[in-house]
């Protein structure tokens, strides 16, 4: 992740790059993007629906 991208994400979320720009935070951001990449590789069947906000189970 480039410095520009890192700062862009923070700015978009209303966070201060000056107060949060540390080596560890950047490393964490990169790790998160690795997990997102993993997620995007998981195959889905066409337009498989999402689990909506409440995961609910029918009570038997």
């Amino acid at each position: 992740m480039t410095q520009e991208q890192f700062e862009f994400f923070l700015r978009c979320s209303g966070l201060s790059a000056e107060r949060l720009d540390t080596a560890d935070q950047r490393r964490a951001a990169e790790q998160v993007r690795d997990w997102v990449a993993r997620l995007m590789q998981i195959e889905l069947d066409g337009h498989a629906p999402a689990v909506t906000f409440q995961v609910s189970f029918p009570r038997e």
């Binding site: 209303g14 201060s16 790790q31 998160v32 997620l39 689990v51 409440q54």
Partner: protein
């Protein structure tokens, strides 16, 4: 049977008039007095109000008004559950001066069941950061070995139960926060079915993954607490009693071996605990089969993306206004949510449906799923990394993704000194049957007579 009573033993003695709530409470306060200075299980102690409540409970019971198994029982509460008039800090400087005016619903239910609140227990910051040394409260210590991690985030709940400071405790679990510390501290812990217990008055971590549940010395104790928390009807408790009597005969248990054999570097003590648990269930009449799910990393990716997105929404304003009030570990984890886009969060929820469905399918032919609880016994604190959750998959997150009830059960000790647990997952709303199976494992391999030497002596 150990000399220090379990919740069930104390309840039975109180009901029979052999012990008073005050006598049980004084035993627990004695443990706290003696060991909390070293173990840091409490953020706030409630000795005086607990003494008054125990006295009142004793009088009520003596007058013939016995409310049930939690009446007069000392319990602790993780400090993310609101308690009227008592500071509730979530272990963070951000909420250092926060005192709610009403109880969380589950705290109210504990009080209504007659339980005695002994204190507010240590938590990783906002149930997520940690282990940390730079937050509001000192780090809770593992009573089996102070140099080892307790696991989190319900660290104080697990420590307080293991050390006999209370007979049961309330914790929360979004990615493993009840089960991981239960395993490392050698107690039992139940993450109930998602949505089964109300979360009003509990500091959220991730709305669609959060659950609350009990930690206690035994599986049976967890059951007694859970029924009170769930306000369960007598029919369900009767179903539990009948499942306990039936044993595992006719049950089918699916072992998820690839989680521990290929998807992680699980240590021998954890894989051996799974084999021992499987053997115990087989001996009790169950059929054990191997089942295969998606790779553990898929579950973890799904859980992390959802968790980080939702928790970022909870903390965004404070991260913008006062990031310095957070400990480093929590801040870095929370801010990580800023690096996930909305479309990726939606994708994670679609993946969640798929992954959950395969677990539901597995539970059509199996009554429970068995795997390791943690990849090893409690590792040294010196090896703890503040971003560990981002580095590799945990064995607990798949069951938050699916929302299915999952039980942490002690399955013995590594080198005879560090507890090792196993994980059992049941069908949605199948807590009665799950608890009964857990008890079989615990009775066969759980060594409940062994308590931490640093607290109870050898």
């Amino acid at each position: 049977m150990s000399e220090f009573p379990t919740l069930a033993q104390a309840a039975s003695a109180i009901a029979a008039g052999r012990l008073t709530p005050s006598e049980v409470l004084e035993q627990c306060i004695g443990q706290t007095e003696q060991h909390d200075g070293a173990l840091n299980a409490h953020i706030t102690r409630l000795d005086e109000s607990a003494r008054a409540a125990a006295l009142a409970a004793g009088k009520e019971i003596a007058s013939g008004k016995y409310r049930g198994p939690l009446h007069g029982i000392p319990v602790g509460v993780k400090d993310i559950f609101d308690t009227a008039g008592v500071p509730t800090t979530s272990g963070s400087r951000v909420d250092e001066h926060r005192t709610p005016i009403r109880d969380a619903v589950l705290v109210r239910r504990l009080r209504d069941a007659g339980a005695i609140l002994t204190g507010k227990l240590a938590t990783y910051e906002f149930a997520f950061g940690g282990p940390s040394l730079d937050i509001l409260s000192p780090l809770a210590k593992n009573p089996w070995d102070h140099t080892r991690v307790t696991g989190g985030s319900s660290s104080g709940s697990a420590v307080a139960v293991a050390a006999g400071m209370c007979l049961g405790a309330l914790g929360s679990d979004t990615g493993g926060s009840i089960r991981i510390p239960a395993g490392y501290c050698g107690v039992a812990g139940l993450k109930p079915t998602y949505g089964r217990l109300p979360l009003q008055g509990v500091m959220p971590l991730a709305y669609s993954l959060d659950t609350a549940g009990p930690l206690a010395w035994t599986v049976q104790d967890c059951g007694l607490m859970f029924w009170a928390l769930a306000c369960s009807p007598v029919e369900e408790i009767a179903r539990w009693e009948s499942a306990r009597k039936a044993g595992a005969r006719g049950s089918r248990i699916g072992i998820i071996r690839h989680f521990i054999e290929t998807d992680t570097n699980t240590a021998a003590e954890s894989t051996e605990a799974v084999s021992a648990a499987a053997h115990a269930l087989e001996t009790s009449g169950a059929e054990v089969v191997e089942i295969s799910l998606s790779p553990l990393r898929d579950y973890h990716a799904c859980c992390l993306v959802i968790m980080l997105s939702e928790t970022f929404e909870v903390h965004r304003a404070n991260l913008a206004n006062c990031p310095e009030l957070y400990g480093e570990s929590a801040r870095e984890r929370f801010v990580s949510g800023a690096f996930i886009q909305a479309s990726e969060y939606v994708r994670a929820n679609r993946v969640r449906r798929r992954l959950s469905q395969e677990m539901f399918d597995a539970l059509r032919s199996c009554d429970a799923l068995l795997t390791a609880l943690n990849v090893s016994a409690a590792p040294p604190l010196a090896h703890a990394r503040k971003l560990a959750i981002l580095e590799g998959p945990t064995l607990t997150s798949p069951f938050n993704v699916s929302g299915l009830p999952t039980l942490a059960v002690n399955a013995g000790f590594f080198e005879d000194r560090l507890p090792v647990g196993v994980s059992l997952t049941g069908r949605a709303y199948g807590e009665a049957e799950l608890l009964a199976l857990g008890e079989i494992v615990e009775t066969a391999v759980g060594q409940r007579a062994k308590r931490p030497c640093s607290v109870f002596g050898s």
